[in-house]
Amino acid sequence: MFVSKKHIPRRRFLKGAGVTLALPLLEAMVPAATALAQSAAAPSRNRFVGMFFPHGMAPGYWVPDLAGPLPVKLPYILESLAKVKDQTVVISGLWSRSAEPPEGTTGSDHWVAAAYLTAIKPRKTAGSDATVGSPTIDQIIAQQIGRSSLLPSLQLSVEDPNSSSSNCGEGYSCSYTNSISWVGLPTPAGEAEPRTSPLPMELNPQVVFERLFGSGATPEVRAARMKQNQSILDSLRHELAGLRNTLGPGDRQTVNQYTEEIREIERRIQLAAKASASVPEIDLPPGVPEQFDQHIKLHCDLTALAFQADITRVVTLLGARDLTSRSYTFPKSELFPGGGQSVGFHGGSHHQEDPVQVQRYAELNRYHVSTLAYFAEKLKSIPEGDGTLLDHSLIMYGSNMGNSNQHQHFDVPHILVGGSNGQLAGGRHLAYERKSVTTGNLLLNVLDMYGVHQENQGDSTGRLNDL
């Protein structure tokens, strides 16, 4: 879909819907972009993608019959992964213990998507002290390998949290539902639990594109805007320093953080200034596509572009929000020859164990996994060094429920796709005994692949030795 060119085309998708006011093209503040990747993958260039979908998967439709090599014919939900099967590891039997409600309580398990990449139960609070107990592993990885890229990490979503602001609760902040990427904050003296803060997940592919590549019709315009922004940022830092003195202690903390963020942006502008001016060409619809399929695939395309140009190495993608009633239109394809429409995601996940309803739910899961397949194939289509982008990436796709009809948090599906710089042998199914291995163990293995060797992560009890 994309090749490297020096301008942004005006060709746009004709399909799609939704009354949307789009950004003007060629209008961003961040100038230029880094050069597209020219060299073979360095060891640190093992990209990480975390993809999360809530509500588990239809039982009986995704677990391969046997442990060991993946079968010739993949299970129904996973069938789309056929073309990347030799780089796919399916893990069954994991226990997402951190998604279970705290002892003695119930019902909180729809609010903990944020636990996906920490394996720690988030603090039950609806206030500003929301924390997930540790930075999410994507942020730990970003700390390790993301410093030298333009964007340390990128967060993407496909569902607007503002469409249903009152639809999360039970005493949990909506942040736990809206973001699966949490960054570490300084922890005040005397507090035991690390403070963390959610990173906003960007919905609009157009905005993502501008963040990745900047814009501005000509190098001169970019330079002028960069200069203006630099002077504004510089002056903002002075203003914030002055403000500190007039504020109360609590508010001062916010201002401190603001100041830090400005430094981070200044760092990025300096990086960007050194980079070349080439901007890739991509068919980008202005605004947020209404069709899920187009939307998520655009995010995948942009991620592939960002990896290729080494603008970022760490991406998280929130495929749906917990409790969403969204229903998906299946594009006509080999998987869905007649197209069709899915059941509502949350409603359908409560399939009552009715075979017909389970099957309908499996269709929905099958469709969701096909977006993973799309992404993996995209990465595989891009050569890099001695292999492809997929060889130098790891995509972790998963959920925090197994059979969601009963809100079971065991037997949760996890799929790893990618070579991870030769660290992951694909074509395998790892099957664990029910409730014997927590997801924290998997997180430890993933961290290992990025040179972060921790003793434990969240509820981990060890590592997956056979991964």
Binding site: R12, L14, G127, E260, P285, P286, S325, G347
Partner: protein, 867 residues
């Protein structure tokens, strides 16, 4: 003043800093039972009706009820010591939930008096609660409104800023509006873009696309477009500069494989309008296959280039792109792309109404043999037996071409309150402009240092370009300032930690305007506050009443009610088209608008908030009236209608499509969700979440005849309630939902569900038996005091921008009591909140709470110490 207030606050249960609404006399709540003796009657009641389950012994035995709360160990002579526990008790008592259904209860009067006594005891011991609210960042809505009021330009903030998290049901909670580098970058970027837009610089060409929703229907007239037209799209577009623009229309396409647009009616004509004047009349090109042309469309069809009836007023010469060029273009274009429907025109910078619509004809697809559903686009491929009108899919506005800087626009009128007459007075004019802009944007008279700093940016811009460029730089700097983005309340120097203090009048002005308008204060508020007069109770009340009448107060309906009643959730509601083929986007929008207008009428007409449950009027347009079965309503505009006896079922929130749809699943109704909605939003008591290991329903019994009916939803749910640990909560929610079963998943009245007559009878948790929505409403009115408290609690949460907790409940009750003395009028609640201590005060937090300065930056953690 402050000292006196604080003295009062300790002694009183009521926040009465200014006592705007009522004199302080007579604020004691009814307290029918006097203070407890050694073995008080209250203790006797608790022992008799509650302690059986809620005791230490039961807790030791691991009983669920006692794990939640025990009542035998709480000292009734010191109720204030356990206010949190008692608040939980009171909440359940007020909602009528305890003792549980089936258990013995005291008579109503005793029940009431115990509840009132407990409340009184809590209230009388409650200290005023004024925690620091935290630093508020403007959320997206507030940001867009502030830009509108500051610069007179309408922006869609979602195109500039990432979305905000929400908590406690609202997205304006200080604690949740965090900072990240993504966000800071977005603010700086938005500041630059918006300043260019407002000044009207000669912009480079850009493309902006407006799309109709996927489930639109365009068979009807759209409000704001000329009569005699059908469907289309009307947008207010902000043109960045004076110049030429092109407007291109594309149809909604058929399915993936279709080369043509949706719709099969031939010879349609499309009118393009700018500010309600026709720019051009085009032949619709969307429905036919490439290389074909419509024949038999009458007179002008022979020469495609001439088909448009020429340019309307204000149009540039139609130009080469003005009309379809037929097959030549089509051959070169994409295989799917029909010749473009494009108009090129000249216009000025600023907002203009752009309309694209079909001329209505007397063609009637209704003559189709098959029944036509209201929603057109269920299947966008050709469907045998159906004829569809073509639909506008997108309107693309590209430009400006040959742009020149704007000379005049609403934004410029707002910004350039003076114009320099020559080089000599440029600086003076700039200083005057800057002072006004900064005052409005920062919501206070700017300090001299602020103005000087901004003058520096002006001069930098002036050196690069002209006067306007200088002001543009200033604007970019102002909009990036934390003083604009944050609601900064400076802390007075001489305050002691932990002691509440009164905020400055200017901060009060901002709290007011963000509460009532979701925007910045206007000049009048700032002027009064600058003079220190806003705190005067009479002045404050006059201002509040003025603000509630101002058009900007619509924010209360859109933002407050939109979130409280989950109207925003409608946007994400997607009833399955195969089950609800009549649901489409015009209906969705009409449902949302109806409730907004209902709420707005309560605000504007200062009615009782209880009318939200009972109002015998509503607001409908033709689409919604048809949905409800209200006859004789024609046209797309909303109007107020009285709900007579035959429409009794539509009275109040419980009869509204918006509520009934968002509380349903895409494929069916959900009595549980509806019950929970009523419990939460009307009774103020959210039922606890389900247990973790809900077993599946038993599979349906094997059926020997093979054609037995599916069990009804009600039967299935009754099965569910057989389990003991499910019953307790489902017996609260389900009956409420059952009584609404006559409304289907999109709020249409029905008498049968899948062939079985609807049974809307139910026994509610307090033992009342009802049948149908009218009876439910009557029953809820018995809890109307509770409802007023819920409104007060939600409104207080929204006004303060922080979660309301048990320590706020004495205030909530006093707000409701005061409002009750004024017929529960909306303004009474608002005035009570505005006069309350938490709204007018702040507390310095102890210095120890300051964490060490951050050493992490967002996105990545970085150790600074090691350098």
């Amino acid at each position: 003043m402050i000292t006196r207030l604080l003295a009062v606050s300790r002694a009183s249960i009521v926040p009465m800093i200014l006592a705007v609404t009522a004199p302080t006399a007579g604020q004691q709540p009814p307290a029918p039972v006097t203070a407890p003796a050694t073995a008080s009657p209250q203790r006797a009641l608790l022992n008799q009706y509650c302690v059986g389950c809620h005791s230490q012994r039961a807790k030791a035995a691991g009983q669920e009820a006692a794990r939640k709360i025990t009542l035998d160990d709480l000292d009734l002579s010191r109720v204030g010591d356990h206010a949190e526990a008692w608040e939980r008790v009171v909440r359940r008592l007020r909602a009528g939930m305890m003792p549980p259904s089936g258990s013995r209860r005291p008579d109503k009067a005793t029940y009431e008096s115990l509840t009132a006594w407990l409340e009184h005891e809590v209230d009388r011991n409650a200290p005023a609660y004024t925690p620091p609210p935290g630093l508020h960042r403007l959320n997206r809505t507030e940001y867009a409104n502030a830009i509108r009021d500051l610069l007179d330009v309408a922006i869609d903030a979602s195109q500039y800023l990432p979305s905000d998290d929400s908590t406690h049901g609202f997205d304006n909670m200080a604690g949740t509006l965090g900072v990240s580098s993504t966000l800071v970058e977005a603010y700086v970027s938005a500041a630059a873009k918006i300043s260019r837009l407002a000044i009207g610089e000669a912009a480079p060409p850009a493309l902006i696309v407006y799309r109709t929703p996927e489930d639109t229907s365009q068979d009807y007239h759209i409000e704001g477009l000329p009569f005699g037209t059908r469907g289309g799209l009307l947008v207010n577009h902000v043109f960045p500069s004076d110049g030429e623009y092109t407007l291109t229309v594309t149809p909604i396409f058929g399915d993936n494989m279709s080369p043509t647009g949706f719709g099969s009616v031939p010879c349609e004509k499309l009118e393009v309008l700018l500010d309600r004047e026709r720019l051009q009349l085009l032949d619709w090109q969307g429905s036919r296959r490439l290389g074909q042309s419509d024949s038999n469309c009458g007179g002008a069809s022979a020469e495609p280039g001439q088909r448009g009836r020429g340019a309307g007023p204000g149009a540039a010469p139609a130009g080469a792109a003005g009309a379809p060029r037929g097959g030549g273009r089509a051959g070169g274009g994409g295989f799917r792309e029909p010749p473009p429907m494009r108009v090129r025109f000249k216009t000025t910078a600023g907002s203009h109404a752009v309309g694209v619509t079909f001329l209505a004809t007397n063609f009637a697809p209704l003559l189709d043999l098959d029944q036509h559903f209201t929603r057109d686009t269920i299947q966008t491929g050709p469907t045998p037996g159906f004829t569809f009108f073509p639909h506008v899919g997108t309107v693309r506005i590209e430009g400006p071409f040959n742009a020149t800087p704007a000379r005049e626009s609403p934004s410029r009128r707002k910004i350039f309150t003076c114009r320099p007459t020559g080089p000599d007075d440029e600086a003076a004019c700039a200083r005057a402009l800057i002072t006004t802009l900064a005052r409005r944007a920062f919501r206070r008279p700017p300090a001299a240092a602020d103005v000087d700093l901004l003058m520096g940016f002006y001069q930098a811009g002036r050196q690069e370009g002209d006067f306007d460029r200088g002001i543009g730089m200033v604007l970019a700097r102002i909009l990036a300032s934390p003083k604009f983005i944050y609601r900064i309340e400076a802390e007075p120097a001489a305050v002691t930690a932990g002691v509440p203090y009164r905020i400055h009048d200017l901060d009060l002005a901002s709290r007011l305007s963000f509460f009532l308008w979701s925007s910045i204060p206007d000049d009048q508020l700032i002027a009064l506050a600058s003079q220190g007069r806003l705190r005067d109770p009479a002045t404050l009340e006059r201002q509040v009443r003025r603000m509630l009448k101002d058009p900007r107060a619509e924010a209360l309906a859109v933002n407050f009610a939109g979130q409280w009643l989950n109207l925003r959730g409608l946007q994400a509601a997607g009833p399955l088209p195969m089950i609800y083929p009549d649901f489409d986007d015009p209906l969705r929008q009409a449902m949302r608008r109806e409730v907004e207008l209902l709420f707005d009428s309560i605000v504007r007409e200062d009615r009782s908030v209880v009318e939200l449950l009972t109002a015998d009027y509503t607001f409908v347009n033709e689409r919604l009236a048809k949905h409800y079965g209200i006859p004789n309503i024609y046209g797309s505009q909303f109007r107020r209608v009285t709900l007579g006896p035959d429409m009794d079922l539509r009275r109040g929130l419980l009869g509204k499509g918006a509520i009934l749809t968002t509380s349903s699943k895409p494929e069916r109704t959900s009595p549980v969700t509806r019950g929970k909605w009523v419990m939460t939003n009307i009774l103020g008591m959210s039922p606890p979440p389900p247990p973790p290991d809900v077993p599946p329903l038993p599979p349906r019994a094997a059926d020997s005849t093979g054609n037995a009916k599916e069990p009804t939803l009600r039967q299935k749910m009754l099965d569910h309630r057989v389990r003991a640990d499910c019953i307790q909560c489902h017996s609260l929610m389900d009956p409420i939902g059952f009584s609404l079963e006559n409304f289907d998943g999109i709020g249409v009245w029905r008498t049968h569900d899948e062939g079985t007559p609807v049974d809307a009878s139910a026994q509610l948790f307090d033992g009342t038996k009802i049948d149908g929505p009218a009876a439910l409403r009557t029953w809820l009115l018995g809890y109307s005091n509770q409802f007023v408290e819920v409104v007060a609690e939600k409104l207080l949460t929204y006004a303060l921008g922080r979660g309301v907790e048990y320590r706020d409940m004495p205030l909530v009750r006093s707000l409701a009591r005061d409002a009750a003395r004024d017929q529960n009028r909306f303004a009474a609640l608002v005035l009570g909140i505005v006069a309350s201590q938490p709204f007018q005060m702040n507390t310095k937090s102890p210095e120890t709470a300051v964490p060490t300065p951050p050493t992490w930056s967002s996105g990545v953690r970085e150790r600074k110490g090691s350098r």
